[in-house]
Symmetry: C2
Subunit: 224 residues, 2 copies
Amino acid sequence: MAPGVTTDASARPQPSRNATAEKLLDAVSDLMIERNSTDVSLSDLAQRSGVNAALVKYHYGNKEGLLLALLARDAEVQVSHLEYLLQQPISPTEKLKLHIAGIINAYYRFPYMNRLLHLLLHDSTEKAAQSVSHFFVKPLLDFQRRLLDEGVAAGEFKPVDPVFFYTHLIGACDHLFHGRHAMSRAAGVGEVTDEVRRQYIDHMIDALLGGMLQPERRRAAARN
Amino acid sequence: MAPGVTTDASARPQPSRNATAEKLLDAVSDLMIERNSTDVSLSDLAQRSGVNAALVKYHYGNKEGLLLALLARDAEVQVSHLEYLLQQPISPTEKLKLHIAGIINAYYRFPYMNRLLHLLLHDSTEKAAQSVSHFFVKPLLDFQRRLLDEGVAAGEFKPVDPVFFYTHLIGACDHLFHGRHAMSRAAGVGEVTDEVRRQYIDHMIDALLGGMLQPERRRAAARN
């Protein structure tokens, strides 16, 4: 069993406290950002980090184990941000706006995070997918459930199904990154630049909070 | 060059008019629905259809060519629905509601369509991805652009960026199917049943059209 990875799907994976293990995670993160790709081999990593390939295997077993440990480390940071956000003395509406921006910004800053999620949830072992569901999907869903409850209790949000809300918001944010290449080919739209990131945050906040109907139409629709 | 596949990415792929080629598409579609998987080999297909394996290769070249021809055939049907919808004598708001239901219903009826889109756009050759972008993504984006223009002209919709609108709506609908398994593991939610399909259509229509803020909050937010 590699130290950085847990077998108990119900437990949060323990971050590796070992300095070499941490160094390897930093090196693979740097390599994936530099190459703008998750295509990094264990031998690339050994060369970059100066850590013996045997030690890479000792700490993480195989590439899946390494990627899982990296995503678990990054997810832990993101989940701590969610907890912090929930405790702020601001309205649920303001928290939701910051949450939408937070998801898009995290994907923008760490493009590999989005790709690792797709890779580990859909194209890896069932064990890896289960682990990602538990350290990433579940805490995010739990956070949103609490935020929605808070917003409804404050009279700010309409009641919505939290699983549908999650599906809608995460799907929409994910698609800016995951679907962009297909759209570039079809519509000649460019890469996700800093400007696009900012504009999509505004779009999602406006669309999710206010809807796209003009106010008089919205009142008419509500009467039907 | 296999008859069912076009090399010119700007042209709509020609549906194969050959009876054997059509029969093969029906057979692979049936097999994927039965197995609830896109994992169908050319020899499975030959066996099921009673068509000689050499003819499968003759018509579609390889598995990618076959899957591409199937998706192109199904996309053509969907795109013709979009054109029909746009010509109906109903309001842009009603068209948008039917469009949202149409996307979710198409994915529900043909689960393999969603999987083929992911497979051919992200895990196949650049040529396949380019072809899918042109026969699927582009017509859908063009339709939405026209519908949005119509809705703004009629005073029903707020002006929104069509590429962002596409990203938001398609991402959210796709995630009900593509992200469901990860959510099942994390939240114990079940499969996408007919009931879930119906409820998510209602959720997306309400959320996209009306937003999630309570009306008095929405007016307050608009004043800021």
